[in-house]
């Protein structure tokens, strides 16, 4: 098992590549969800100010 993780001596190159890419995939989803939340919050504020006036 430890020989698997060693990647024939290339562990220092293979695992950071995989880790970075997985982080990229997760980050892009979180980023898009954050944008959606912000857009809804801003629209709610706009509606509230329309209703108030």
């Amino acid at each position: 098992m430890s020989s698997y993780w060693a990647m024939s001596g290339y562990a220092a190159y293979v695992w950071p590549s995989v880790g970075l890419t997985v982080a990229l995939l997760v980050a892009n989803v979180l980023w898009a969800r954050q944008l959606a939340r912000e857009a809804r919050a801003e629209a709610r504020r706009r509606i509230a100010s329309q209703d108030a006036s």
Partner: protein, 250 residues
Amino acid sequence: MNWVWFHRFGSPPYFYSVAGRIVPWLAWPAALLMVAGLYGGLVLAPPDYQQSDAARIMYVHVPAAYVGLMAYVVMAVAAAIGLVWRLKVSHAVAAACAPIGASFTAVCLVTGMLWGQPMWGTWWAWDPRLVSMLVLLFFFLGYLGLRGAIDDTARADRASAVLAVVGVVNVPIVHFSVIWWNSLHQGPSLLRKGGPAMPASMWVPLVLMIFGFTFYFYAVMLMRARAEVMRRERGGQWVREVLNATGDKP
């Protein structure tokens, strides 16, 4: 030919609703394909006969490069449609592509460096493929910078769309750079004459990853484009109806 179905996507509420229904149908296949592709590529596939286990970087580097290029093409096409037909939804789609494309292009470059150091003995070379990919990143960043610098959304849309369309000439340069010039980077090894330059145990996981990344790109792009459409239409009646109907749900 009836184009009404297509024109309806120019309507923000229709786009918002249909895109929202499509996202899960893209996200789940993307997750399954990527899990299968990573397992196949990192565990089941044999080590390369020349590069040993370092070749497994391919399973993340190639799909990242693919998404970077695809994001650029989708961005340029959406920007061009936005310019010609003045469709706001189209500009929102273009704007949604850029941050995703930029981040995947950056990760492609970094994973390429992590592959280049052990295989070529250098992190970076001023090589046609590497430089044209760096130029792709600069086009994304220029597009985002230009949008950020113009406050008026309609003017930002038009100016950035022109940049996006001009930059599309770089896409075939990236693709053919390894053929036209003598590059350090290896040539096409999947879609080439005579079939893939590797056994099925190696190319099948790569194809799964490429399809998984493609589904993923369209899912995240539609999520961003929906948020962008709502941001632009925040004063509209349909936004009020959507927010009333969904409550606090995402």
